[in-house]
Symmetry: C2
Subunit: 281 residues, 2 copies
């Protein structure tokens, strides 16, 4: 990717901060402007070196940007993208980092103010930790970024975002927003729900006996309840379908255990192992 | 712990191999005899330095041992401990590393051959990886080991095992076998079942989109189907109860998602986060 003069990042939490850090460490942008509401977050983003300057004034922050990333919770993305379009230079390309795409892309797949254009991104990277203090320049290294262009998207915009995320070390794939949301219901939202349900039911008095197994399996439950309430709501139909299928599998496991049906139990365990071994570390 | 002349380990897989490696690296035993059925496993145990010598002949292997650890799959522990007692020196202390305890302790809580005595151990350490090639000298460092003595156990035997596991870096706690089995149904067997159900239901075509979340949450599903079929069977009643509770929690989550009940959803997520944050990394 050619170096950019100025990238503006609205929301410098873990994802926005990591984009800024990666841009700066790889020398991909002259200026990285961090835009946010809370001074403490902006200060933290400056301290870790994720941005070159910060502002609470969105209009001023995006005024000179070549590219704007909106890295705010999904419930605020549509509104923030529209505000960015009203203040950015005419024709500026805007993207996001939201974990669900259909609602957002539907709302933004039309001419925005000043001829600005939106194409959705979802970097499949993150952590249960929040805030720029946990930002990492290598957060996207080797991870997948899904772009969700529509029939209205300009090929040049999509290619530009492809180069952008590739330059941060990611592998980029394209999908429709609908395909994306169905897929992540299984690969991201269902695992989150399983971790949450697990952490919720383990009796507190047994927590001192937790080993690495419970630690790994419940790790996602440490994520932000606010963010995840929004994510589940935004992908309601697919998440509910995945949860229903998961319930039935748990019931099948329980039936095999209760009926001492070892061959059935081993079949489920073997099928799961084959699938899991295909995932990697 | 005073150094032991000779420790015999029946079954030099991940756990047995790691005990041997830790004993040798810490200079806690002169001789560590690895006993097993498969030459390839014994060879691997020698190669990684987990044992000083190996044999397929259990009688010869335990003949001079001061302490014998039986680290075989739980379905074979009772039989192997009885065989060890028939060939060990009179009065030898024998322990195991089985993940369930009630059935095993019930069967072995009586005079064994030649005055040998059994006290149950369960090191809460491990991995989804099997075999001595994955053994680590620090596998027990900072982890918990549960001892499950009974009213018939000699205090001196229990203290000796406490010193033994402490010398390998573990923190040792005592519980009844029944308490242990109830607790690990929640902290170990339920997480395993959740990981298995998750891996089993994720459609294969979406696996390329797996991120760290799915990786962590499903990791346990990579474990051995044979071993886990035995574990679930041995702890049937408690595992079924935990699965039933987990099912209900998943149903509650799904209902909150389907009914767009954000406050209910956030309550579940927040409760889970509080519990998860208490677990540690």
């Amino acid at each position: 990717m050619d170096s950019l003069d100025c990238v503006a990042i609205v929301g410098v939490g873990l994802i926005g901060g990591s984009v800024g850090l990666a841009l700066r460490q790889r020398g991909l942008a002259e200026t990285v402007v961090g835009i946010g509401r809370r001074q403490s977050t902006l200060r933290a983003a400056r301290r870790v070196g994720a941005v070159t300057r910060t502002t609470q004034d969105l209009a001023a922050g995006v005024a000179r940007a070549d590219l704007v990333l909106v890295c705010v919770p999904i419930g605020s993305i549509v509104e923030q993208v529209r505000r960015v379009a009203e203040h950015a230079r005419p024709g500026t390309l805007i993207t996001d980092a939201g974990s669900t795409k259909a609602e957002i892309v539907r709302a933004l797949d039309r001419p925005l103010a000043r001829g600005c254009r939106f194409v959705g991104s979802h970097p499949l990277a993150g952590s249960e930790k929040a805030g720029p203090q946990h930002a990492r320049a290598d957060l996207f290294q080797g991870r997948l970024v899904v772009l969700t262009p529509t029939r209205r998207s300009r090929p040049g915009d999509v290619e530009r975002l492809e180069r952008f995320w590739s330059a941060l070390g990611a592998e980029v794939v394209r999908m429709t927003a609908a395909e994306h949301d169905r897929a992540v219901a299984w690969t991201s939202h269902l695992p989150h729900a399983a971790a949450v349900a697990l952490a919720a039911v383990v009796p507190g008095r047994y927590l001192p006996l937790a080993g690495t197994g419970l630690e790994d399996t419940s790790r996602l439950a440490g994520g932000s309840p606010e963010l995840w309430t929004q994510i589940f709501a935004a992908n309601r139909r697919h998440v509910a379908a995945a949860l229903r299928r998961f319930e039935r599998q748990i019931q099948a496991l329980r039936a095999a255990v209760e009926q001492e049906n070892s061959s059935r139990l081993k079949r489920i365990l073997s099928r799961a192992k084959t699938k899991r071994d295909a995932v990697g570390s």
